[in-house]
């Protein structure tokens, strides 16, 4: 009836009905449990395969793993890794990286370098909080990378296990690269199976 419809209309106009109708969804959501993470107080649990900041690892006896082979430099699609390799003068024929730079501003965190590393020296950690006011600190040099490796050793190892690059067993941990030995000065004990 025209009167009822008109009354409804006037009532709705007087009581701002459209607004309450639209706010129904909003009020309903007020009592929903929020899914927002209250970062930085709450942090997301990251999976083991998470590709965060890069780290250089050492063996259990504190020897550097990196042999300066430049394969990560070759694999990097953004060409942000720079390696200067040298022969260690105290240990002839041992190759190592005397300088190792990763420009983390160029890095796309693809993980190709970690895949390419033949001695599992590079790994990725769960660290993503390294913003700074000075852009120069974002050129990670060898010292920084080894520091990250020390601080996040567990995460780095877990990354390697998760990506099937290393096994979480005793033999894997003891395996290390056997360098050519100089006839003048041997620098490594012979491998286990040779006695």
């Amino acid at each position: 009836m025209r009167v009822a419809a008109l009354t409804k209309q006037i009532l709705q106009a007087a009581l701002f009905y459209e607004i309450w109708d639209a706010m129904k969804v909003t009020f309903k959501h007020m009592f929903h449990k929020p899914i927002t993470f209250q970062y930085p107080r709450e942090q997301r649990t990251l999976p083991d395969t998470h590709r965060g900041a890069l780290a250089l690892l050492r063996y259990d006896d504190h020897q550097e793993r990196c042999v300066g082979c430049d394969l990560c430099e070759a694999a990097c699609p953004s060409r942000c890794i720079k390696v200067i390799s040298l022969e260690d003068p105290e240990r002839p024929l041992q190759r190592y990286a005397s300088e190792f730079y990763i420009d983390i501003t160029k890095c796309v965190f693809c993980g190709y370098c970690v895949e390419a590393c033949p001695v599992n020296a590079l790994a990725m950690t769960k660290m993503y909080e390294f913003s700074t006011h000075d852009k120069r600190t974002l050129l990670f040099d060898k010292k920084r990378l080894y520091e990250i490796g020390e601080r996040h050793l567990e995460d780095a190892k877990k990354y390697l296990y998760a990506h099937n690059q290393e096994k979480n067993v005793e033999e894997s941990r003891e395996y290390r690269y056997y360098f050519p030995q100089s006839v003048l000065k041997p620098t490594q004990p012979p491998p286990k199976h040779l006695g």
């Binding site: 042999v67 300066g68 082979c69 430049d70 394969l71 430099e73 070759a74 390799s85 040298l86 022969e87 002839p92 024929l93 190759r95 033949p118 001695v119 690269y177 056997y178 360098f179 050519p180 030995q181 100089s182 006839v183 003048l184 041997p186 012979p190 491998p191 040779l194």
Partner: protein
């Protein structure tokens, strides 16, 4: 293995037909099947095969199926026979080759990440091509790496026993420094006798090794092959002009490789006659002078007693002001210039243009004056061509070579390899006439040891023997009967017995030599420092030309009288006119047509004809005070010339000495201004090598510090003096040279020259030749001193530039010792390291001795690259009256125990 290469021109073989992959192919019988297959264009994988030497057959990759044989056949060692039916592809062959790769890989260590050959490894390539991903059983050798030598490391874990290194060293280079030895159950490549490697260190074994078994100590672990930029350039050490690749990474030269490392192995063996693509120890391991810490990075100006660094603008202002002042006050003849033959052609051209058009003086000279100009003048005077007429191919294919006055292996190793190939492949007869037991003498068919300084007499003897044995070529002498009679009269007094007594070369030997030379179809005479850097060099070269003329060897293809040059661009220095008697193009400075042409092209008046001073005259002018300003580019007269030339006094007297050099040399320390030049690795340009070939030098890295190319500095200097030169790059200079000397560059091929002797023989020859063969004792009479002291070049060094390369100094340091024959040492009762007193007519000094078997008795030797102790100061200087060449490499001394 004795398989004659099919492309050897001497091989007499029947042509046969065989079928390869269904197609019929013709080939010579008995050649390697691999060569036949690759001549059809199909390349079969191979690892131990290299086209420069005979196939070895150890890797087992070059398998083909031959009908009638059950198992696949190794094509490299199979000889092609008529009616063979060969299949080169197919799944069965792929699997067979894959098995061969797996066999090699199963004893190969997993060293790829740390191996210097990663990326440039044939085993990697083969594994990739054949899809090898897993190995059934792998067994490592765990042999320690041989790091005893100062240059090369041998890692026998990686060795695949292909024997390429042994073959290249034994066959191609005839050095034979490596061998197989069974050690610890494995067949290993070791230096001869398993001692630390001590050889010529040419690095060809390093270049041909398909894997990383032989590595370079100087660049150990510093690079991976894919990271480097390769620049093709020409070596800066000697006149051979070898092409090499400067490999740079981040503006630093990391290593040097030769075309042999990168060349397609499946090349044409006949091409090796033009050069096998190797380089020598200097080129390969002597690159460290380029970024040495001793390089000058800033100009220096003298303030008081010191040289202080100054910016370019200030230095150039001072230099130009002082030059202009001297020219204004004392005229252009008070200015002189010296340039080194290590500069490029463009820079030499600009130098003589700067002196003649800019400073308006003809007092200029280059280091070609130290010997090469003797040859140039003789050759120009007699034959109308001022350079060696034969190229490397002619040298390789010669049938007879007389090598006189040249220790070729030490001075120009790659030319020596050409002669070695002539001996080995083309069966040439080589006569080596020298006063020491040189490396070539040990390999030659007819080595002759003569008394030092008697080369001139030997040539007299050879000419006389040719006449006595009637080995005369009738056609050549019939054209000039008068000249021939004059020659006969001139040598009438020469007696072969006398010559034999004085030179210690027997009459038999003289006769044999001439017979070999005259009767061969392709005969070459190669003379070098023992002739042109000694007194009477000019006359001796003319005598050699006489010998070649009467035996009819001047205008035949593949014959001629040649020389080798010590510095890379000595030929270019002469061609570009960097000498007071020459204009560019080797025309005489006094030739009016040429003078007009250049005056018009440069838009200046040239200094008067007949004016000008060469090296010796310039130094004399400095001493008397007539020359007040000297511009020295790359030269180091203070360290090169003996004290008797009084160079220090001469340079002290100068009002202005400007030195332009990459290093602070002894001469630079006396300068008023030192301008830092860059090395040949940092600029573009060309060199002309001893064949007359114009080779490109390319920029590999940017000039270090504030150093600049020589042409750039000279252009700035000229423009500041008022000439309006608009050279923005060395290409602009090249364009100008191309206009003035059309055909000079000739696209890198030596220009064909035809010796023309007629003019020389019909004009005044009789008078010339009458004095040429005058009877005389050797030019340095014994005057009571029993030993002959010789100074010369050693293989590991070149001039003084190589002493700035740390690598070469490591290999061959300055021992400071005099080299003597062990028998002489025994007679004098001195042993290794004992100090002796060395006395010549000019002075005396004390130094230790070392024994050296290649030194002849009654002679002693000291390398000319070192001035500690300054043995050169014992030498007296003799200046050739015709060519002005100063010679100071030989004198007589007394040796006593100190």
């Amino acid at each position: 293995m004795g398989l004659k290469p099919g492309t050897n021109p001497d091989v007499e073989a029947v042509t046969i037909e065989l079928s390869i992959d269904g197609k019929s192919v013709t080939a010579k019988s008995g050649v390697s099947l691999y060569d036949v297959i690759s001549s059809t264009g199909k390349i079969i994988p191979a690892m131990c095969y290299h086209y420069t030497f005979d196939p070895f057959g150890s890797c087992g990759m070059c398998l083909v199926m031959q009908e009638g044989k059950k198992a696949p056949v190794r094509s490299c060692t199979a000889k092609a026979a008529a009616g063979m039916i060969i299949k080169t592809d197919g799944d069965d062959l792929f699997l067979a080759r894959k098995k061969a790769v797996e066999k090699h890989l199963s004893v190969h260590p997993l060293d790829c990440p740390v191996c210097d050959a990663d990326g440039h490894c044939e085993l990697q390539d083969m594994a990739f091509r054949h899809g090898v991903t897993n190995l059934a059983n792998a067994k490592q050798k765990f042999i320690p790496e041989d790091t005893r030598s100062p240059v090369l490391d041998f890692n026998m874990n990686r060795c695949i026993a292909c024997a390429e290194c042994i073959n290249v060293c034994k066959d191609v280079l005839m050095i034979d420094a490596l061998q197989f030895m069974k050690k610890g159950g494995f067949n290993q490549v070791v230096p001869k006798g398993d001692l630390a490697l001590s050889c010529e260190f040419c690095g060809d074994c390093l270049a041909v090794c398909p894997v990383g078994a032989i590595t370079n100590k100087f660049s150990k672990y510093l690079y991976k092959p894919w990271q480097m930029k390769k620049t093709t350039t020409t070596c800066n050490y000697c006149g051979d002009g070898c092409q090499m690749y400067l490999e740079t990474k981040d503006a630093e030269v990391v290593r040097v490789t030769s075309p042999l490392s990168w060349k397609n192995k499946w090349g044409d063996r006949a091409e090796t006659a033009k050069g096998h693509g190797g380089i020598c120890v200097r080129g390969r391991f002597g690159f460290e002078y380029i970024d040495s810490a001793a390089r000058l990075k800033q100009p220096l100006l003298r303030k008081g007693n010191q040289l202080v660094e100054a910016p370019w603008l200030e230095t150039m202002h001072q230099v130009v002001d002082r030059f202009s002042e001297i020219r204004r006050k004392h005229g252009p003849d008070a200015i002189a210039g010296l340039i080194t033959a290590r500069c490029t052609n463009e820079e030499l051209y600009l130098f003589q243009k700067l002196m003649r058009a800019g400073f308006q003086t003809n007092h200029l000279d280059s280091s070609a004056r130290y010997g090469h100009l003797n040859f140039v003048h003789a050759s120009q005077h007699a034959l109308g061509i001022g350079r060696s007429p034969n190229d490397w191919e002619d040298l390789t294919k010669a049938k007879a070579v007389i090598l006189i006055g040249s220790n070729l292996t030490e001075t120009n190793p790659l030319t020596a390899v050409r002669i070695k190939e002539a001996i080995r492949v083309y069966k040439a007869q080589v006569v080596v006439i020298d006063s020491a037991v040189t490396n070539m003498a040990k390999l030659a068919s007819h080595p002759v040891l003569i008394a030092p300084g008697t080369e001139g007499l030997v040539i007299d003897g050879l000419v006389k023997a040719a006449l006595e044995l009637d080995l005369i070529d009738e056609t050549s002498v019939k054209k000039h009967p008068h000249a021939f009679e004059a020659l006969k009269a001139a040598v009438a007094h020469v007696s072969l017995e006398q010559v034999a007594v004085q030179t210690r070369m027997s009459v038999e030997s003289l006769k044999d030599t001439v017979t070999i030379f005259a009767e061969a179809s392709r005969s070459i005479i190669l003379c070098a420092e023992g002739i042109v850097r000694r007194p009477d060099g000019y006359q001796n070269v003319l005598k050699l030309i006489d010998l070649a003329w009467i035996t009819g060897k001047l205008d035949q293809p593949g014959c001629g009288v040649n020389t080798v040059t010590e510095e890379p661009n000595e030929q270019g220095a002469v061609d570009m006119g960097a000498a007071p008697e020459f204009l560019p193009g080797q025309v005489s400075f006094n030739d009016q047509t040429a003078r007009d042409r250049f005056a018009k092209a440069w838009d200046v008046t040239l200094p008067a004809a007949g004016s000008g001073a060469n090296l010796v005259e310039i130094l004399k002018g400095c001493k008397t005070g007539q020359i007040r300003a000297l511009y020295v580019i790359g030269e180091n007269p203070l360290a090169t010339l003996p004290a008797s030339m009084e160079v220090r006094a001469a340079l002290d007297r100068l009002e202005l000495l400007v030195v332009q050099d990459p290093f602070l040399t002894e001469t630079a320390r006396m300068a008023h201004a030192v301008l830092p030049a860059c090395t040949s690795a940092e600029k573009d340009g060309t060199f002309t090598n001893l064949e007359g070939r114009v080779l490109r030098v390319r920029e590999a890295i940017d000039p270090i510090g504030e150093s600049l190319p020589d042409w750039h500095i000279m252009t700035a200097l000229a423009n500041a003096l008022g000439c309006q030169w608009e050279y923005e790059s060395s290409n602009d200079v090249q364009a100008e040279i191309m206009k003035l000397l059309p055909g000079y560059y000739n696209l890198g091929q030596p220009r064909k020259v035809v010796p023309v002797i007629d003019h020389y023989l019909s004009n005044g020859y009789a008078a010339d030749v009458a004095v040429r063969y005058r009877a005389s004792a050797p030019s340095d009479a014994k005057n009571g001193r029993p030993f002959a002291l010789l100074m010369g070049q050693v293989l590991y060094h070149s001039g003084k530039l190589s002493t700035e390369a740390i690598g070469l100094i490591t290999i061959a340091p300055n021992t400071g010792r005099l080299r003597m024959n062990p028998q002489d040492m025994e007679r004098l009762a001195v042993s290794e390291g004992t100090t002796v007193r060395l006395t010549s007519d000019l002075g005396s000094m004390q130094l230790a001795v070392q024994s050296d078997h290649s030194i002849a008795p009654q002679t002693c030797f000291f390398p000319e690259h070192f001035n500690e102790p300054p043995v050169k100061d014992l030498m007296s200087v003799q200046v050739d009256p015709t060519t002005g060449v100063p010679t100071f490499k030989q004198t007589r001394v007394t040796i006593e125990k100190a």
